[in-house]
Amino acid sequence: MANQTTNPINKPEEKGFGAGEHAERLSGLATTEQAEIDKKTGLDIFRDMTLGRRFEDKCAEMYYRGKMFGFVHLYNGQEAVSSGVIGAMKKKHDWFCSTYRDHVHALSAGVPAREVMSELFGKETGCSKGRGGSMHLFSKEHHLLGGYAFIGEGIPVAVGAAFTSKYKKEALGEKQSDSVTAAFFGDGTCNNGQFFECLNMAQLWKLPILFVVENNKWAIGMAHDRATSDPEIWRKANSFGMAGEEVNGMDVLAVREAAIRAIKRARNGEGPTLLECLTYRFRGHSLADPDELRQEEEKQFWSERDPLKALEKDLLTRSLATTEELRAIEKEIDKEVTDAVEFALEAPEPKPEELTRYIWAEKEERF
């Protein structure tokens, strides 16, 4: 480890790192404790992760067939984070904030696949009415605060949602106000000022929020250890007096267990948690990324830890599911994804006469 310097002139191949430091961290985690789950929960999680995976595969296909445009960032490989965290939260009650890699967070939050797919096709039936696109998925109904396309800018917004939760409880005396917000972002964001500013404010005011880092090691082409002075992001929580945890982000049940701990702290008014999930994206940064920098050995290491396969093994080992049940779920999901595509293809485009609609508020929209 000591010989792995962060000297920027070192080329990856000269470091002889095999699968690399990022991968090595998986074997040194403080805890690998997995959540206890029942059959229904297990199948729900499997369904959510399968939907995430197959939805994204379909996106790649549709992108290459010229049905969707712009920058499309797929989530393959990171499903355990979305399903592990959001699956442990309360839909339409807690709040979720994402980045440009937001399709699967939207799906986990409950936004129907039809709405997400038709947004990607730029249709009026999309969750952002075709105005947002891949990087700007929003759903007030499902408490999705949005996909934010610039690095770090979603974090303050998420902090704002957590502030509202506290404000309603303490300033307005609404005792039932106990919503928790989860802000998702990547390792690259953790070198940005908004990350630090928001950690400070959230801990200062003990806001009910989870800062969920999806550390997939690569900020487009910038390897994490070349961009940061201390690659162990969860340790940065300590500087703010905040709870920090690192977790195997390829193990959905471990993510779920850590999320449950963090959510409990947040709901009890004990403040935020910085949860670093070690994960990996199986595809390039976006579908426009030639993905030339990542080593085969590294990709191999992580693909062997495919979170869907890991969950399947867990469910079978714990006798919570049979292979037949899981295959049947996959078939259902394939149908759902096919249906989403058909729906999106046939859906109407936004009306030209509504080009300038939604700039201004149309009516008082109070909660």
Binding site: R131, V159, G160, A161, E197, C198
Partner: protein, 327 residues
């Protein structure tokens, strides 16, 4: 008989709106215990508590973004820029999220926020504290921009801005906080989108806003003895412009001078003159004139500073010139 100081008029507006609606809150640097750098939120923290009047760390982009998130989830935050210039550090949140998010989200969310604070050129505050961000933010879609200029309109406009469901950038002027006047007793709200016809006249229209309103008034006074009858309009709303009032006036006077404190290049007047050219061309008997600040960082030296911004005598000269041209 004591009038009301402009900063107190703003304070009254915020106080009344906070009492009226418990979702209205204030956040920013030193707004709480300190009462705001210009005392616009004095004692409100004591009255409404530390959550409703929240002292934030010095992290402009983050607390502005926090206001966006709070607004999306039901609150109606007022963000104070201790100096509006500091909000350059919040440009991303103001542009991407306050301004654009409602549209980008296809109408999922509204962002009822007010961003307010002192702008303009003060007295030898140096370049960074003497900015006129109204021009910088003018191109951002989805935000309203308002500039108050008297205690009366300050209060009424602030109340309207707080009640508006859109993000409003509310410009106060650092040199107008101590302006005093009798303000109407009882509750009143001013329209955010209406220009103020300060003085009717027939010879030339002057369009101005914020502190320059008072420079223009001095000029109007000086011109009265010369029998030149100026129509003076305070724009109030810098985005969108009240084009109805502007067009009506130009149709009457056929001459227009824009007096602004922002820089000439890319300024408020630049946009305004383009619109006037597009919409009032046939009514004009003379080329429209812009009196703007120099395109330079505001110098510290007092004499140079005075040369940077427009002075009343320059307005007088400009009016004399445009009127003497005849039809």
């Amino acid at each position: 008989m004591a009038g009301t100081l402009l900063f107190n008029a703003l304070r009254e507006a915020i106080d009344e709106e906070m009492a009226r609606d418990s979702l209205v809150c204030v956040m920013g640097e030193d707004v709480g215990h300190y009462g705001g750098s210009y005392k616009v939120t004095k004692d409100l923290c004591e009255k409404y508590g530390e959550l409703r009047v929240l002292d934030t760390p010095i992290a402009e982009n983050s607390f502005t973004g926090m206001a966006v998130g709070a607004a999306m989830t039901g609150l109606r935050p007022i963000v104070e820029g201790m100096n509006m210039g500091f909000l350059l550090l919040a440009f991303n949140q103001i542009s991407n999220n306050m301004g654009m998010l409602r549209y980008t989200s296809g109408g999922n969310y509204t962002i009822p926020t007010v961003v307010r604070g002192p702008g303009g050129v003060g007295r030898q505050l140096g370049a960074e504290h003497s900015q006129r961000l109204e021009a910088y933010f003018h191109a951002v879609p989805g935000i309203k921009i308002v500039a108050c200029s008297t205690p009366t309109n300050a209060k009424g406009l602030m109340k309207a801005a707080i009640r508006d469901d859109n993000p409003v950038l509310f410009f106060e002027h650092v040199l107008l906080y101590n302006l005093t006047e009798e303000i109407p007793s009882g509750e009143y709200v001013c329209a955010l989108d209406q220009a103020d016809l300060v003085k009717e006249g027939k010879d030339v229209t002057i369009l101005t806003y914020s502190r320059m309103r008072h420079h223009c008034l001095k000029a109007v006074e000086m011109l009265e003895s010369e029998d030149i009858d100026v129509e003076l309009i305070d724009l109030i709303s810098l985005k969108p412009f009240d084009m109805d009032t502007i067009k009506r006036s130009i149709a009457k006077t056929n001459r227009v001078i824009i007096v602004e404190e922002c820089m000439k290049t890319g300024g408020i007047g630049a946009e305004l003159i383009a619109l006037i050219t597009e919409e009032c061309f046939d009514d004009l008997d003379a080329p429209p004139v812009r009196l703007s600040s120099q395109d330079i960082p505001t110098p510290y030296n007092g004499k140079l500073e005075n040369l940077t911004i427009i002075q009343p005598h320059q307005i007088v000269e400009s009016v004399q010139k445009i009127v003497s041209k005849g039809v």
